[in-house]
């Protein structure tokens, strides 16, 4: 089973809407069984995500997006996880304007994730607000929450991302946007159990090329391809 942990669907203020149906047809063409989906952080549209996983059960896993500066953010997230069928949290500190060292802003959300054993997908490119180095302390403070480091330090902070990932076993590195060397480095350093296929559609990649990249990097690891392409994601998202 192939699970892709980084995809956007829904409406955007300026860009064309990505419908569940259009993503599904691309997935079918590329042989992707399930996609973890979130809305655009800047144009929050959780309704489209919810509609997608309810319309196509077994094909989509929904991440809930909320601006953590909102007063009711934690309550809203809890409702999404407890009552609406969302399976995790999507965080984008750049779009929502907070630094990953400003713990008081988003730790209430992580407490909710801990309560529901829901994973977190957090943008982790080489940006000041999202630098991989911050994931170290977050992962230490929430050792029982699985954290997917999206973009795994794109690109200049990949060495840092890998070092932090190696140190914290609840961090998973996700391959969207990574160049070949970095993909290899991630799997080599962490082993094939803690790297996840992510394509970053529509922004960061196409299914076919990303599959090629990741398959190439898993060569030589026992059961590596199956793990990185699906088994690891199935485990942390509690997919049977």
């Amino acid at each position: 089973m192939i699970i892709d942990v980084s995809n956007i669907i829904g409406r955007h203020k300026f860009k064309p809407e990505i419908t569940a149906q259009s993503l599904l047809s691309q997935m079918d063409k590329a042989g992707i069984d399930m996609a973890v989906v979130n809305c655009y952080a800047e144009s929050i549209d959780n309704a489209s995500v919810e509609q997608a996983f309810k319309s196509y059960p077994g094909r989509f896993i929904g991440l809930y997006t909320v601006n953590p500066w909102q007063d009711n953010a934690a309550r809203e997230l809890e409702d999404a996880l407890a009552n609406k069928g969302f399976k995790g949290l999507y965080m984008n500190p750049l779009r929502h304007g907070y630094m990953l060292c400003e713990h008081q802003v988003f730790y209430p959300l992580l407490e909710v994730c801990r309560k529901y054993q829901a994973p977190v997908w957090c943008y982790g490119a080489a940006e000041v607000f999202t630098s991989p180095i911050f994931f170290d302390e977050i992962a230490a403070d929430f050792p029982d929450v699985n954290i997917i480091m999206g973009r795994m330090g794109l690109q200049y902070d990949n060495a840092s991302a890998v070092a932090i990932g190696k140190r914290r076993t609840n961090i998973y590195l996700e391959t969207s946007s990574s160049m070949d060397f970095n993909t290899h480095r991630a799997i080599k350093a962490l082993g094939p159990d803690r790297v996840l296929l992510g394509t970053g559609t529509p922004e960061a990649g196409y299914f076919e090329l990303e599959l090629l990249k990741v398959r190439n990097a898993t060569k030589g690891y026992e059961n590596g391809e199956a793990k990185v392409l699906g088994e690891n994601a199935a485990r942390i998202f509690h997919i049977k």
């Binding site: 630094m99 060292c101 000041v128 630098s131 180095i133 170290d136 200049y156 902070d157 060495a159 840092s160």
Partner: protein
């Protein structure tokens, strides 16, 4: 005794700042000793050594290298073993590396540990130099004092102050920091974690001293920040 923890001197494109000019500034502002190091853009540790030999009671030599240089480690070792320099000045932006890039930096920190020297580093909230990265190095090398210039401004000063509070060998230095930030550092991390620097001639020595004095009226704490911490870190007798 006031000890200024940063002055880049010597030749670089468009500038040739002599140690004698620095000594004038020091005399004008009551600064007894000043850390000196090479310009980053044109590295010349030999000029710093020459200044140290000529004014041994007034200047404190620090090494500058490009960590990517093939023979960078040998140069630092020469600066410690032969020149008697007190530590290494680093700048991740100028030389294009991330400050937590262990594969590049560890050999230099090993040398600092071996010779009992400190690392002083540019520390604004730019991508390569954010405070957490230098704190990562400090945590990795607990015997090596690591001092962060600029206290994490513009964005990450609170974080820098917290790290200085939490990491025993991680210090902050005042040049270029906003005054409220310096006060925050004083309150969060305490005066023992804050060292005065002016970044002269880029920074105004008199104004930078005034900023430190502005954040507290406690003269004992002022002395700690203006000189005593530096003397302790460098192993210099404090008067």
């Amino acid at each position: 005794m006031i000890i200024d923890m940063l002055a880049h001197i010597g030749i670089k494109k468009g500038e040739n700042y002599k140690v004698e000019s620095l000594l004038e500034l020091m005399d004008q502002n009551g600064v007894e000793k000043c850390m000196i190091c090479s310009q980053l853009e044109t590295v010349d540790n030999d000029y710093i050594y020459d200044c140290c030999k000529r004014y041994p009671d007034r200047v404190i030599g620090f090494a500058v290298i490009n960590p990517w240089d093939i023979d960078g480690e040998a140069e630092v070792e020469k600066c410690y073993r032969d020149y008697g320099f007190y530590g290494l000045k680093m700048n991740a932006i100028r030389f294009g590396y991330s400050a937590d890039r262990h594969s590049i930096l560890d050999p230099y920190f090993d040398l600092c540990e071996k010779y009992g020297k400190c690392v002083v580093a540019h520390g604004q909230s730019d991508m390569f130099s954010i405070p957490d990265k230098w704190a990562e190095m400090a945590k990795t090398y607990p015997k090596v004092p690591v001092m962060l210039y600029h206290m994490g401004v513009p964005l990450m000063y609170e974080r820098a102050c917290e790290l200085a509070r939490d990491v025993p060998n991680f210090y902050l230095s005042t040049c270029g920091a906003y005054v409220p930030v310096m006060r925050m550092g004083y309150e969060i991390a305490g005066p023992e974690k804050i060292l005065f620097s002016s970044d002269a001639p880029f920074g105004d020595m008199g104004q930078e001293i005034a900023k430190v004095k502005y954040i507290t009226r406690n003269e004992a704490d002022q002395e700690i920040m203006l000189g005593k911490n530096a003397a302790d870190m460098l192993g210099i007798a404090y008067r």
